[in-house]
């Protein structure tokens, strides 16, 4: 290991330690008597000081040294932590961090010497000088303590108090220097526990100096000053402590973990090939081994995935400090609470979510929580509460940032949006209440009357939204006036593995991230030439009455010559409807394969200039496929203009119109009725041949993407009394034609709804409603001028689960029939 490696290790370790220092110091401010925390803070600074002395960073050492001296006094109880000392120590942490950055970039600890900081730190540790000076001239940057309400020891009004502890343990020679650990510790502990008097320790120490080789505890017992049990108990506490603080972890480079992931991924591919090979083999030994290998590889993959997961507490750790600083800056009192620190998303997600979360936390303190006096007037506790919650739900990570502040003001948001020209007054008036809050996520929106140093620095809520959406997450805000605001952030567990649609074009496969995918449209060969129209040479398709610009992937990627373009016009056309930057466009590809979970690997620098690809991935057969960058592709094809204003206007419009009109999937219900479900509840449309239907107990199921999909037959669930008759006739059992199945996701489970016929997808206001006339129906509604029943999916699933499925005989038929 050479010098630069040592420095690098030192930096990594110190950064982590400093983050912990921030946390510990803020924690200590609330509970200044926490000896363990103080000892931890002291150890950290001591380590940094020691190492930089060794590495020759003298300025850093000097700053750390005065900090350490102050901490020594605190630890020994000669001083008690108060807000002034905390601020000074945090200032020292910042200075150290600054110097570490200097070292990181230049190799030197910088020119700054921080004389004022050192002076403050020195002054604070000497009681005689500090008390009058502080009383006469309080340090300006310490306003009324915000977070320190609980720090009973120091009422904010009085000048910093310094308590001189009379029973200081005599330390023999060299007072002030770090004492020999074993002696001081047990002695101090015994005094603390009231077993002995400091004078007794002094006597025992004298014995030692006179040449007594026995340990301090033993001398105390021998002199009859302490009982053996007490000394042993103290010794046990001392012995136990180091074990508490040493976590059972080792530091491993992220590169190594990434490499492990890669290799495991490849192992899984090799396993798949082995399994295929073993299945065709007669050799039972080989089959047994391959099965074992299968299990091991699966488990290994799961465990390796876990190594990349990090508790979200790692980034939350800095928030108490953030909140303290912001609260001090705007004279507020805020207590932060955290739940679910151990929730673990992937490390890349953690990094991506850090800035947006920090912004949201700052925002809550700065804008959400009121000033203490205002809170008191409103009948609330002077101290505002900021609650961070994280939890897993449905394969995603949910994060909530709540405050009990004033809440969002709907009227002000409306006015502001109109003022900024984001929406019209008319739109504002019609906008549903819930949607109003989401206006704050529009670019160019800020209700902050004055720009403080905290917010309004260019990182608006729109950036938060953009950043969260970039990693496939969603943001939502809820607020009750006078009660507070809650921001929900929902993010995927990992970025390393994403669901993607695999398509083929020009003989190569390409993956399209599912987040930008809206729907798939297939135009049959006889229909295609007329369905695609031209707007001055630009191909468009009428998708439910709106013009959808079309982009031919082969042309954009320069895959095929001009002859191929004509060929595609003669054949069926596959359109993948995508969304980029709020605009929709249709991507025409040769073939649509399937959706898959793919492992994303970044492109190397040689290909960074190619903006149409976001990365690459290894497919099941071991070949490499490129992942399309939908936005890059759209920009290349000029589908999205560079002008942000246009996208903004579109977004604002969507905010309004999106809630008025809904998209529905229409299908034929039992008894020639027309039924509908909102398209948003639909995961996929599938066709299954009847031969794939199997029986599980008394239910119809089928195998779908490696899972068992329960099939619910609408006819069976909806029909009540006539059911028996029709069941006996076997009428609901489909004939030779394939089953039309709507795949729905309900509470994390997939269900297949078997319907007779899928009619259409329409967009409608659906505002004329009447009450339902039968079960499993929410209400009847006018869609496209016809009465349509809106299916109540939860009720229908419940009904299907509770119903002893009568047409058992009918169900068995198609399976046996096989066909």
């Amino acid at each position: 290991m050479n010098d630069s490696d040592i420095v690098k290790d030192f930096l990594v370790e110190s950064y982590e330690n400093l983050d912990r220092l921030d946390r510990d110091l803020v924690g200590l401010e609330k509970n200044p008597k926490d000896k363990d925390a103080l000892a931890g803070v002291f150890r950290t600074i001591h380590t940094i000081k020691g190492t930089c002395g060794f590495l020759g960073f003298n300025k850093l050492e000097k700053v750390a040294h005065v900090g350490e001296n102050l901490l020594t006094r605190l630890r020994d109880g000669q001083l008690i932590l108060n807000p002034e000392i905390t601020t000074a120590l945090l200032g020292m942490v910042d200075a150290v961090r600054q110097m570490l950055k200097e070292i990181d970039s230049t190799g030197q600890d910088g020119d700054a010497d921080y004389p004022e900081l050192r002076e403050t730190l020195t002054r604070l540790q000497t009681p005689t000088v500090a008390a009058p000076a502080a009383a006469a001239k309080p340090i300006p940057e310490v306003p009324a303590p915000a977070v320190a309400r609980e720090s009973v020891a120091t009422p904010p009004a009085t000048p910093p108090t310094i308590k001189i502890d009379p029973p200081t343990v005599p330390r023999g020679k060299g007072d002030g220097s770090p004492h020999k650990p074993s002696r001081g510790k047990i002695g101090g502990l015994l005094v603390e526990r009231g077993v002995v008097q400091p004078a007794d320790i002094a006597r025992a120490l004298e014995e030692q100096e006179r040449g007594d080789r026995r340990r301090l505890g033993e001398i105390l017992v021998a002199l009859g000053l302490a009982k053996r049990e007490d000394v042993l108990a103290a010794q046990q506490i001392l012995d136990a402590k180091p074990r508490d603080t040493t976590p059972e972890t080792i530091r491993v480079g992220v590169n190594l973990l990434d490499k492990l992931m890669t290799l495991v991924g490849e192992l899984v591919l090799a396993r798949n090939q082995l399994l295929q090979f073993a299945n065709t083999s007669e050799n039972t030994g080989l089959q047994a081994v391959s099965q074992r290998m299968n299990l091991i590889a699966t488990e290994l993959q799961e465990e390796v995935m876990k190594t990349r997961m990090q508790p979200i507490g790692n980034i939350w750790g800095q928030f108490p400090r953030t909140v303290r600083d912001v609260a001090l800056g705007c004279h507020k009192e805020v207590a932060i609470e955290m739940e679910g620190k151990e929730t673990e998303p992937d490390k890349t997600i953690i990094e991506a979510i850090k800035d947006p979360l920090t912004h949201l936390v700052r925002n809550s303190v700065d804008h959400g929580i009121e000033l203490p006096d205002d809170r008191e007037k409103a009948g609330k506790n002077r101290t505002g509460r900021l609650i961070l919650r994280a939890f897993h739900e449905g394969g995603q990570v949910n994060i909530e940032i709540s405050d009990d502040g004033a809440g969002l003001n709907r009227e002000r948001i409306r006015q502001k949006a109109i003022e900024r020209g984001l929406i019209t007054a008319e739109q504002a008036a019609r906008m549903p209440e819930r949607e109003v809050f989401n206006l704050i996520f529009l670019p160019g929106f800020s209700t902050a009357e004055k720009v403080t140093n905290v917010s309004g620095r260019g990182v608006g809520m729109d950036v938060v939204k953009t950043n969260v959406e970039k990693i496939g997450g969603v943001v939502d805000v809820q607020s009750l006036p006078g009660r507070g605001t809650t921001v929900h952030v929902k993010i995927p567990l990992t970025l390393a593995i994403i669901p993607a649609l695999v398509v083929t074009c020009g003989g190569e496969r390409y993956a399209i991230p599912q987040v930008s995918l809206l729907e798939l449209v297939r135009l049959e060969a006889d229909h295609a030439p007329t369905a695609i129209e031209m707007v001055h040479g630009a191909p468009v398709y009428r998708l439910r009455g709106r013009l959808l610009p079309l982009v031919y992937l082969a042309r954009e990627l320069k895959l095929a010559g001009p002859a191929d373009a004509q060929k595609t016009e003669a054949a069926a056309v596959n359109i993948v409807v995508l969304q980029a930057d709020g605009r929709q466009f249709g991507l025409v590809v040769d073939q649509i394969n399937d959706t898959e979970e793919i492992v994303v690997k970044p492109l190397r620098k040689q290909l960074k200039t190619v903006k149409t690809f976001a990365g690459s991935s290894i497919m099941g057969d071991g070949k490499v496929a490129l992942i399309l960058d939908v936005l890059g592709l759209a920009q290349r094809a000029n589908v999205v203009g560079g002008t942000r204003e246009r996208a903004m206007a579109e977004k604002a419009k969507e905010c309004v119109t999106g809630t008025e009109k809904q998209t529905f999937l229409l299908f034929a219900g039992p008894g020639d009725s027309r039924m509908a479900i909102p398209l948003s509840t639909l995961a996929r449309l599938e066709e299954f041949p009847v031969s794939q239907v199997e029986m599980s107990g008394s239910r119809w199921v089928t195998q779908y993407r490696g899972q068992i999909l329960p099939l619910i037959r609408l006819n069976v669930v909806m029909e009540e009394r006539r059911n028996k008759l029709r069941g006996l006739q076997g009428a609901p059992a489909p004939g030779s034609g394939p089953l039309q199945v709507l795949v729905l996701n309900h509470e994390g489970h997939a269900y297949g709804l078997v319907v007779d016929k899928i009619l259409d997808i329409v967009e409608d206001k659906a505002d004329v409603k009447s009450a339902a006339t039968r079960h499993s129906v929410l209400y009847s509604v006018l869609i496209g001028d016809r009465v349509t029943e809106l299916l109540d999916i939860p009720a229908m699933i419940k009904a299907a689960a509770g119903k002893p499925v009568l047409p058992l005989s009918g169900a068995a038929q198609p399976v046996q029939g096989g066909r």
Binding site: T262, L263, G265, E266, L269, G506, E508, L557, K558, L559, K601, L603, R604, K605, Q606, L607, T609, V610, T612, F613, S616, I618, G622, K623, V624, A625, L626
Partner: protein, 151 residues
């Protein structure tokens, strides 16, 4: 005098060598996935035991005549600061051990676009071995710019 080991290979009958310490492995031709719109020197992406590696056609990079479509190139995989990169070469030669005494810098008249990559030559008994700077050969900046300018 300290000796240096070079991994040697042939490109259009010329002998090239790169520092052996930077070479990860040498493998036969692998299936590559084409990257549309990429600079022409990038011949594709290959799966090297789960690691996706960019394949750089050294003939194109060094502005030599293109390889005949039937010839299967060999892969010399080198470590770079940005992950591994595979150089496509015609044929693999021996590992050659030389010392500084046989080295001479490249003549000034070399084309400027190539001169940065060729550090010089070692005068072997029977022929000249071009010393290739692997790191420079991986850099695609000017190549990419040239490609986009031409497009």
């Amino acid at each position: 005098m300290p000796t240096l080991q070079f991994c040697t290979f042939y490109l259009d009958k010329l002998l090239f060598g790169i520092d052996l310490r930077g070479v990860q492995e040498v493998i036969r031709s692998l299936d590559a996935t084409q990257v549309p719109l990429a600079p022409p020197v990038v011949s594709g992406l290959i799966n090297l035991r789960g690691q996706i590696v960019t394949a750089v056609d050294l003939r194109r990079r060094l502005e030599l005549t293109p390889r005949s479509p039937n010839a299967l190139p060999m892969n010399v995989v080198v470590r770079s600061d940005d992950g591994a990169v595979s150089f496509l070469v015609d044929e693999i030669g021996d590992v050659v051990e030389v010392d500084d005494s046989s080295f001479e810098p490249a003549p000034e008249m070399l084309r400027a676009s190539v001169r940065g990559m060729i550090l010089g030559v070692h005068k072997l008994d029977d022929r000249l071995m071009h010393v290739l700077d692997a790191e420079k050969a991986c850099e695609m900046k000017e190549a990419a710019e040239a490609a986009t300018a031409g497009a």
